[in-house]
Structure formats: C-alpha cells, structure tokens
C-alpha cells in the first residue's frame, strides 16, 4: 500500500522497469528486452505483466509516457516511449538502499558465501 511511497518493497517487475528506465526512455519491447538482459535472462516479462505494471506505475507517477517516435532498429511504426519521473527516481533509490541494508545484514551474519560477497 502506501509503503511503496515510503520505500517499501517493490515487485521484481516494477524494480526492473525502473532500473531500465533510469538511464534512458524506452518503448515496451525495448523495456522487455533490457530487463531480460539486465537479469541475465532470469526475469522474463510478457506483454501482460509489462503493460499491467506500466499502467500502475504511470498512475502512481513513477513513470510517464515520454513520446511517440520510431525506433530505427525495428520498423517504421511509431511507438510509445516511457520515461522515469522524479518520484520514480526517488522510489528506485529508496528500494536500492533497502537492498543495500538487507545485504549488509546478510554480511554481518555471514550468510553470503565468500565467492559471492567478494
């Protein structure tokens, strides 16, 4: 609920979309492919999950429709691009901070194998 606004946990889909859009605006297919690449193929999003998340995120003010333009790498169809908002940046930063704290606790308790933690 309101926890998201105050740095509460985000769903993996929302986190990955924010991560992808934090560097540049992208269209739906571009987001999908970048999420797959960022997660080394572990997170696979279909159009249902992607656009459902996009709807909720735009309603929450985390992302916005930035423009409608042509992707020169694909075809000549115009595509809707999405970009991150200031609130989205803040939410992402808060979530990454939360992850950092979780990892710190795990380190303290020696829960992270040496090879991974190094």
């Amino acid at each position: 609920m309101a926890s998201t606004r105050t740095g509460g946990p985000l769903t993996p889909a929302v986190l990955h979309i924010l991560l992808v859009l934090s560097t540049q605006d992208r269209h739906g297919y571009g987001i999908m492919k970048q999420v797959e690449a960022d997660s080394q193929g572990r997170v696979k999003m279909g159009p249902g999950t992607l656009y459902g998340s996009v709807r909720r995120m735009t309603e929450a003010g985390l992302i916005r429709e930035s423009d409608k333009k042509i992707d020169p790498n694909l075809d000549d169809e115009r595509r809707v691009y999405y970009g991150i908002t200031a609130l989205g940046q803040q939410t992402l930063a808060a979530e990454l901070q939360r992850y950092r704290q979780v990892v710190a606790v795990a380190h303290e308790r020696s829960l992270i194998p040496r090879a991974m933690g190094a």
Partner: protein
C-alpha cells in the same frame, strides 16, 4: 509469415477482453510488442515457437484477469458499492422468494398423499433463511455505503503489485 499474421489476429481478439479504458490505452502497444516478439522468434522457427506463443497468450490472459479484478474492486470500493449491494440484496430476496414458492408448491402437491417432504423442505427453508440474512446484510451495507459516500470524497488506492 502466415502463422504470424494469424497469431497476431488471435492476439488482437484476446486483447479485446481487457477493460475498455485499458484496451484503448495499451492494446495497440501490446499488439506491436507481440509482433516484435513474434518477429524475434521467427529466426528460431521450430518446436519452441508454439510453446512461446502459448506462454504469451497465457501470460496476457492472467493480465486480463488481474485488470478485470482490479477494475471490479475499484468499482466496488469507489462509487458503485451502493449499487453492488443493492443488486446483492435483490438477488438474495429473489432467491428467498423462489425458495418460499418452491416449498409452498411442494407442500401443496404433497398434501393428502402422505408423502414425507421433510428432506426437500428443510434444505429449502435453510436456504430461504440464508437468503434473508444475506438480503438484510446487503441492505445494511447498502445504507452504510450510501451514507459514507455522501460524507467523504472518494479515496484513491495506491498501487502496489
């Protein structure tokens, strides 16, 4: 290529199941993304394609259910709660009425025959009682919801999942 066109047509039909506002906003982009995914898969034509298409359709269908559910929840929680409770109240009353009519008919038909109709009448009476309880609860909720709606502005739920 023909297969892709066919899949795209089916996918377009599937997208028609989304709530209208969602469809108007995202259907074209979703279809475009689906076409991109199909194009990407075209290079790896084979056994995996059917499974991939099936996954996309299933995943989208799950998305449709999610959107429909949140649409319904929004409808119920916002301004139309009173209307929903009103419908439930009348449905419960109608069920109760039908049960009473059924019991009366069974008793009328069984009169004088000496047939034991307890097995039919007892569950029907129980259902009637439950219907009346449901109708009363729905009526109370209808009044409460109508009153609270008049007193405060509609709240906006924050997204999470």
């Amino acid at each position: 290529m023909g297969g892709q066109t066919r899949y795209r047509r089916w996918y377009r039909r599937l997208l028609g199941l989304y709530p209208r506002p969602y469809r108007e906003r995202f259907a074209d982009s979703m279809e475009q993304t689906f076409a991109d995914l199909c194009r990407e898969r075209a290079g790896t034509e084979g056994r995996g394609t059917a499974a991939f298409i099936l996954w996309i359709f299933t995943e989208t269908f799950v998305g449709i259910i999610r959107e429909r559910a949140s649409d319904l929840a929004r409808l119920t929680m916002a301004r139309n709660a009173t209307a929903v409770f009103r419908i439930v109240k009348w449905l419960a009353l109608a069920t109760g009425g039908l049960m009473v009519a059924g019991v009366a008919t069974v008793m009328l038909l069984a009169r004088g025959t000496g047939e034991d109709v307890t097995g039919v009448v007892a569950p029907a009476l129980l259902l009637t009682l439950l219907s009346v309880v449901a109708a009363v609860v729905a009526a109370i909720l209808q009044v409460t919801s109508g009153r609270s709606h008049r007193l405060r502005a509609p709240t906006r739920r924050f997204w999470t999942r």
